[in-house]
Symmetry: D2
Subunit: 250 residues, 4 copies
């Protein structure tokens, strides 16, 4: 019989953290050993013997959390957003000194979202144009979302590999920001409104037709199957893993 994985949650009283606590608690093969939120000490997690931490905190503290956990030899599943290339490089640096530790940073744990991204990458070379519209609740701190930035990167790579020409765009008079932000050559538009949860639309267009791939996450519970999968897998994948994709295909 395999022993349960001992899990600590950082940001445990936040909306997502709370869901994670519930989901870990309900899973037969996981044991929730530590719930930490702001003002509380990280060493509670190591004292409690956590083998995997789940971090749904915020961009201001996540780097400190990661540095500490990696030093302790604890693997981490990260749902916090705001990872720039610089930040990723720093994490890779810390991991170099701890080759047995795994860190999985995913901009999105919804399996539907991951499929959306995989389909977007696959469709990219067949269409002249593509733009991303992401829609979230107005309490979100960053714009665009990590999922949108990640989707843009995948699309840009697929277009580059296929030798796609630049997208057509005759805009001459633009009010600042109207055309969204440019992420790897793909325009992203970030909607923020009450009543929304987490939604993303990838719009592809070519002469006479469009193909739209849309993901709607109406409930934080939709992320939990993906989070639990990552918790179970992260220790088997030392180093830095970005996104759920590898786990879904593996």
């Amino acid at each position: 019989m395999t022993e349960n994985i001992r899990v600590g949650v950082l940001g445990a009283r936040g909306r997502m953290g709370l869901e994670v606590c519930k989901a870990v608690d309900a899973a037969d093969d996981l044991t929730l050993v530590s719930m930490i939120d702001q003002g509380e000490e990280l060493f509670q997690a190591s004292s409690a013997g956590a083998q995997v931490l789940v971090d749904f905190t915020n961009p201001d503290v996540v780097m400190d959390n990661l540095k500490w956990a990696i030093e302790q030899g604890i693997s981490v599943v990260v749902g916090t957003s705001g990872f720039s290339d610089d930040r990723l490089a720093a994490v890779r640096g810390w991991l170099a000194a701890k080759p047995e530790v795994g860190v999985l940073i995913a901009p999105n744990f919804g399996i539907g979202a991951v499929l959306m991204m995989q389909f977007a990458a696959r469709a990219a070379r067949f269409f002249e144009s593509v733009e991303i519209i992401e829609q979230h609740h107005p309490r979100k701190l960053d714009a665009p979302s990590g999922t949108a930035v990640h989707t843009a990167r995948l699309i840009a790579e697929a277009r580059a590999a296929a030798g796609s020409p630049p997208m057509p765009d005759a805009t001459k008079e633009e009010q600042l920001g109207a055309r969204g932000t440019d992420a790897d050559g793909v325009r992203i538009h970030s909607i923020r409104a009450s009543g929304l949860v987490a939604h993303q639309e990838v719009l592809f267009g070519t002469s006479g037709e469009t193909l739209t791939i849309r993901h709607d996450s109406l409930d934080r519970s939709s992320f939990m199957p993906g989070v639990l999968l990552a918790v179970r897998e992260v220790r088997k994948r030392p180093g830095l893993t970005l996104g759920l994709d590898a786990l879904l295909e593996g």
Copy 2:
């Protein structure tokens, strides 16, 4: 028996201009007397006895066209975009000297689009948040579209009248342009992609629900009923008229 209205078209070889020529030609109560495009002289229209001009040109020349037409005493229906408050003030100035002339400037001649705007104005006070997403073919020169800017203004007026508080938005880290452009306090996002024609979505949100009003114009023919209505009515409405609304309700 009433005599036919004598109509000239400016921008007659453009996509919209061509449709207008066809539609005027096919209408029993209108006579197409002049088709003018760039490089051709405006006085052809006055020589031909045009009573109403329809202008689907571009922001660079429309002001000269309007000044000339008003001086000649010819009423004008304008579908060209890019009218700032300064430009509208200039037109009003020219009209002051010619009290019998009518000018109707409409950001959109689709009856569906006008209904969309009326509904948006009416819904505005019941929702905490509202954003506009407009989607057009990639040959469009301006962003956002005139329709979107006009919709934003109507929504802003309705919210101001109802004393609506500012919309919630916790964005702290924004990549330049991600949150779109701010038009009278309403965010507008402009998508440009092949395969699109002319589309606009107004998204309202409040706790737990959203209301979306979407207009899709798949074909330039959809604008023609509105253009012809304006041609028939513009001389009865001296001075400056903005939008089709008054004509629909009158």
Copy 3:
């Protein structure tokens, strides 16, 4: 100082009933005096002095509940679905004997939904075609939804008043049910899928353009403002009131 309205809830342990109990309890001007669910006796509500009952039960018991409440002189706000013309006639009959009692039956308490219906009724005469697509969670018992049937009726009345011709439809080979159900001449399509909550789209089309009005209710809390408004108003409106419309415009 006005006294609080004493409210009882039928179906109090159902999903909607529970939300109503919370919302009534949280409202300063209402007092929750009775929570009744299946297997419990209605007279508990009268014993507790309920002045208004809110019924979110099911089509099998709602008629008995209404008959009893009207006889007791208690006004009722009804969110239960499945009201045929026969059922409405029965309710009107019971109310005839109790002229001081008010019953408000609303297929939908979302203010967004009511606006959707008002806009649909207003747009109806300008378009050749209109169809309704309603989407709900798979636990819903009836198809189409009450909201969809009500919307169809409003559209049909507006089209009849405007003398609209029949909608174009060349379908010759139809697999049974493909074209949806016919409600007052308007086609309704009922989608049922996990991950959905309560959504409706009204699609209008004419040559070259479509206008879509869509309402998404992501959370039962979105209905509460409408339910509380109805509770406050129902005793001022003796007899049978259908829908929130009158309350919004009054």
Copy 4:
């Protein structure tokens, strides 16, 4: 230098047929040798030396066209809808006697549509529910569309292979047709409205999230790249080929 392929078009004066004629005529490697419409004799195509026929006719005549073409040893690309299993069996029978002839029957020649179907098949096993909403202009004769039926079959096969349980659906009171038609266990809803061209949405749902794949074909020109690809490939693929998929992946 390869010789041009000699192409005949059946249904040459229909909307799609006309586009095909233009597209074949404009392609450097194809020669348009015969344009046939109702009332005209098929032998014109064989007399003109057609090597490939493209059939966009209607369900009443397509079987006769196919039988004749196969007997003549001419390969056929078919866009006409309405192919039942019986009809496919008949075509296979005729082809058995002519092993060198290829017939490609595609419910949809839009590359976007084919991607939509491939993505739908791939997503199918990850979601509890899936329904198809197809939307077309009101001149369409059949409901549901061939594309929708084909999509349903692919989804059903993927779900069967994954051992997916039946979809949840608690509907107890259904107005006839509200829940659409059942195609291989997948519900299809067919919208018909002016202003539409050819659209399809595949809606997947599971707890807390939905994934929607939507294809909009706004213009018949969008089908031409797929039709020309099929014309070039059909003779290399003797026997019956269903759909563009194999051509896209090959």
